[in-house]
C-alpha cells in the first residue's frame, strides 16, 4: 500500500465504518475483560477483605473483655502464624503484642482507617524482600491502637497479570480490527475506483465501456448493473439522436435541392408567368421545410417534457371536435367516417398535445386508406379505468415487424414513401403518450390483407 494513498483511504466511508467497528469491538472486549477481572482478581481481594472484617470483629469482641484479653488474643493469633499479622499498642504508643513492629501510617484519633503499604522482610538467605500489604488500623476505646494486615503480594501479582492481559488483548484487538477495516475498505475502494474509471472513460467519449460485474450480487454489483443499464440506454439515445441528426440532414437535403433547382429554373425563365410559377413552387417547397423543422422542434420539446400545460380535461370533448374537423376530409376522399364517443372520460392532459397526437393519427388514416375505405374514431374507458382513444382504418396497416420502427424519428416505411409526410407523425404521438404517462399501441385492425388496416390506440391514465 502506498503511503500517498492513505488519506484517500481514510476518507472512504468503508474505512470509517471499519474504525467504528474497531471501537465497538474495543468497548465490548473491555467490558468482557472487566467482567473477567471482577470475577477473578476482584473476587480474591473481596474474599480477603471479608476475612479481615471477620478477624477484626473477633478481636473487637475480645476487646470488650478488656485490654488484657485483647492482648492475649493478639498474642495467640500472632503465634499461630496465619494469613494475618498483628500489632497492638497500648495507650502510650508502646508495642504491647503482635508480630509486626511499626505502624505504616499514623493511627487515627478515633475509628478505623484502611492502609496499603510496603514493608521489608528477610528471605531464607537473609536478603531483604519488599512486599506489599493491606490492612486496617483502629483506635481502641482505651487509647490503644490495633492493626491487622495481610500480605497482598500474591494477589497483587495476579492483578497485575490480569490487567496486563486485558490491555494487551485490547491493543491487539484494536490493531486487528483496524487491519481488517483497511482490507475491507481497500477492496471496496478498489471497486468504487473501477466504477469511477468506467465513468471517466465514458465521459472521454467511449460509450461502449461498461463497469465490471463480478457476479457476487452485492451492492457494488447492483450499482454496476444499474450503471451499465443506464449507459446502454444512453448509448441507444445517442445513436438514435445521431441518426436523427443524419435523418434531418437527409430529409432536408432533398427539398432544399429541389428548391435550389426550381429557383435556378425560375432564374432562366424569360417570361414573368414562368418566374412566378417557379417562385410559387419554391415557396411551397420552403413551407414544407418549415413544417418539418417545426415538427422536429415540437417533437424535441415534447420529448424533453418541456412543454404543455396539463389540466383535467374530458377526452371526449377533444374527440368530438376532431370528429367534426375530420369528417369532411374523410367524405371528400370517399371514406366512411364513424365516430363512437364514449361519454365523459377525464384525463390529466394538455389539450393541444392530445389534439395534435390524435390529429396525426387521423391524418395518417386519411392519407393511407384507399378510397372507399373506412376510418373510425372511438373513445372508451378500459376495464382498468384508463381512457383509450382509437383510430382505426381499412388501409394497408403496418406489418408487425415494422411497428416498433414506425414510431422512430424520420422512419418512413416502404409503402408510405410516395406520399407526403415528414416521418415524424407517429414519433410525436408516442412522445405525447409518454409525456402523459400513457401508451401508444399499434395493431392490425383485423381486415383481410392486403388491407389489414391499422388500429392505433392512445391510452391515457384517467384523472
Amino acid at each position: 500500500m502506498k503511503i500517498g494513498r492513505l488519506p484517500a483511504l481514510v476518507r472512504t466511508t468503508t474505512f470509517r465504518l471499519a474504525l467504528l467497528h474497531a471501537s465497538i469491538f474495543i468497548l465490548f472486549s473491555a467490558s468482557l475483560l472487566a467482567y473477567l477481572y471482577y470475577e477473578t482478581a476482584g473476587h480474591l481481594s473481596r474474599q480477603a477483605e471479608a476475612e479481615l472484617n471477620a478477624e477484626f470483629q473477633e478481636l473487637s469482641a475480645a476487646n470488650r473483655g478488656g485490654f488484657d484479653r485483647l492482648n492475649q488474643a493478639v498474642t495467640e493469633r500472632s503465634g499461630a502464624r496465619g494469613k494475618f499479622f498483628y500489632l497492638l499498642q497500648d495507650s502510650t504508643g508502646q508495642k504491647s503484642a503482635g508480630d509486626f513492629d511499626f505502624l505504616p501510617a499514623p493511627a487515627p484519633e478515633t475509628q478505623v482507617v484502611d492502609v496499603n503499604f510496603d514493608y521489608e522482610v528477610r528471605d531464607t538467605n537473609g536478603r531483604p524482600v519488599r512486599r506489599s500489604a493491606q490492612g486496617r488500623i483502629s483506635r481502641l476505646a482505651g487509647g490503644g491502637v490495633l492493626m491487622v494486615a495481610y500480605d497482598v503480594g500474591q494477589l497483587g501479582e495476579m492483578n497485575r497479570r490480569i490487567t496486563e492481559v486485558v490491555w494487551r488483548s485490547a491493543v491487539v484487538g484494536f490493531v486487528l480490527s483496524l487491519i481488517g477495516g483497511v482490507v475491507i475498505s481497500r477492496s471496496a475502494a478498489q471497486r468504487a475506483e473501477q466504477l469511477a474509471r468506467t465513468a471517466e472513460e465514458v465521459m472521454a467519449g467511449d460509450l461502449t465501456r461498461r463497469a465490471p460485474v463480478d457476479g457476487s450480487g452485492d451492492e457494488f454489483d447492483r450499482l454496476s448493473e444499474q450503471l451499465n443499464a443506464m449507459l446502454s440506454k444512453l448509448e441507444r439515445l445517442v445513436i438514435s439522436s445521431r441518426s436523427a441528426g443524419d435523418s434531418i440532414a437527409h430529409d432536408l437535403r432533398s427539398p432544399l435541392t429541389r428548391l435550389r433547382n426550381r429557383l435556378e429554373g425560375g432564374l432562366r425563365e424569360d417570361k414573368v408567368d414562368g418566374q412566378r410559377a417557379a417562385l410559387t413552387k419554391s415557396i411551397e417547397e420552403v413551407d414544407g421545410v418549415l413544417d418539418t423543422f417545426n415538427a422536429v422542434l415540437r417533437l424535441s420539446r415534447v420529448q424533453a417534457g418541456a412543454t404543455g400545460s396539463f389540466r383535467r380535461i374530458n377526452v371526449t370533448g377533444i374527440t368530438d371536435e376532431l370528429a367534426e374537423l375530420y369528417q369532411p376530409a374523410c367524405e371528400e376522399k370517399n371514406l366512411t367516417f364513424s365516430y363512437l364517443p364514449g361519454g365523459e372520460l377525464f384525463v390529466q392532459a394538455d389539450r393541444d398535445l392530445i389534439a395534435q397526437a390524435l390529429s396525426n393519427l387521423l391524418d395518417n388514416a386519411v392519407k393511407y386508406t384507399p378510397e372507399g375505405g373506412s376510418v373510425t374514431l372511438s373513445v372508451r374507458r378500459l376495464p382498468g379505468g384508463e381512457a383509450e382513444v382509437a383510430v382505426s382504418d381499412s388501409g394497408p396497416g403496418i406489418p408487425p415487424e415494422d411497428r416498433d420502427r414506425a414510431v422512430e424519428r424520420f422512419v418512413r416505411l416502404e409503402q408510405s414513401r410516395s406520399l407526403p409526410g415528414s416521418g415524424l407523425g407517429l414519433s410525436l404521438v408516442l412522445a405525447v403518450a409518454e409525456a402523459h404517462r400513457g401508451r401508444l399501441m399499434l395493431d392490425s385492425a383485423g381486415g383481410a390483407p392486403p388491407n389489414a388496416g391499422l388500429a392505433a390506440r392512445l391510452i391515457l391514465p384517467s384523472a
Binding site: L297, P328, A329, E332, Q356, S359, D363
Partner: protein, 223 residues
C-alpha cells in the same frame, strides 16, 4: 398601415420590413426594447410586431409598459418559444397575436393585417356585410342577395371570421387557431375541406365568387 417592428436581429428585422413593405405597409424598425418603447409611444402606429427576446427590456415587459401607459396599437409577438403557456404569457402581457419562428412570410402579413382591422373595428357590430353577403350575429342567420343560407354552427363561425377579415388573406393556421382554437398544423387538408364546403354554400349558386383561394397562403373573402 403604419407598423413598428421591434426586433434586435438585424436580418430578421430587415426581412419583416421587406415582407410588410411589399404588402404595402410603412414600416419602422427598432433594434432594442428601450428605443422601441419610446418610439412606439411617440409614433402613431396601427400595429406593432415585437420580438419576445430583446436586449434591455424584453418583449413582454415592453408591451406591459406600453399598455400601462395607455398605448392601444395591437401587437403581434414573434418568438421562437411556441408552446401554449408562452402564447398565454404573450396574450396576458397585452399581445393580440403570437407567431412562432420560423414562419412563412404570408403568415406574417396575414396576421399583421388582421391586427390592423381589429384596431379599427372595435365598435361592437351585430351585422357583417361583404358584397351581397349579410350575416346577422344576433339572429345567427346568413343571407346572400336576400336568399337565406343554412350553415352548421362551425361553418357560421368560419364565415364570421372570414367576414370580419374581409379583403385580407387568412391562413389555414389562423383559421385552425381562431375558429377551432387549436395550435398545431394538420398535415392533411382538413381546413381546406371545411372552407370548400362553406364555399359550396355561399358561392355555388351565385355568379360572382366571394371566397378566393390565395395560392401558397390561404383564403380571402372579398366582394
Amino acid at each position: 398601415m403604419k407598423v413598428i417592428v421591434i426586433e434586435d436581429d438585424a436580418d430578421a428585422a430587415a426581412f419583416v420590413k421587406r415582407v410588410l413593405g411589399e404588402a404595402g405597409h410603412s414600416v419602422d424598425v427598432c433594434g432594442d426594447g428601450e428605443s422601441g418603447l419610446s418610439q412606439a409611444r411617440s409614433g402613431d402606429y396601427d400595429a406593432m410586431v415585437v420580438d419576445r427576446m430583446l436586449p434591455g427590456i424584453d418583449g413582454l415587459e415592453l408591451l406591459k409598459r406600453y399598455r400601462d401607459a395607455g398605448g392601444r396599437a395591437p401587437a403581434l409577438f414573434l418568438s421562437a418559444l411556441g408552446e401554449v403557456d408562452h402564447r398565454v404569457e404573450g396574450l396576458q402581457a397585452g399581445g393580440d397575436d403570437y407567431l412562432v419562428k420560423p414562419y412563412a412570410p404570408s403568415e406574417l402579413v396575414a396576421r399583421v393585417e388582421a391586427l390592423g382591422r381589429r384596431a379599427t373595428g372595435d365598435i361592437p357590430t351585430t351585422r357583417l356585410t361583404v358584397g351581397g353577403l349579410e350575416m346577422d350575429l344576433l339572429a345567427r342567420t346568413v343571407h346572400r342577395d336576400g336568399q337565406k343560407i343554412d350553415l352548421q354552427p362551425r361553418e357560421f363561425r368560419l364565415l364570421e371570421f372570414l367576414m370580419r377579415h374581409a379583403g385580407q388573406v387568412v391562413t389555414r393556421t389562423m383559421l385552425l387557431e381562431k375558429v377551432w382554437d387549436y395550435h398545431f398544423d394538420p398535415q392533411t387538408n382538413v381546413i381546406d375541406v371545411h372552407v370548400s364546403r362553406l364555399r359550396g354554400k355561399i358561392d355555388k349558386d351565385f355568379e360572382k365568387p366571394l371566397l378566393h383561394t390565395v395560392r401558397g397562403a390561404g383564403y380571402r373573402l372579398e366582394a
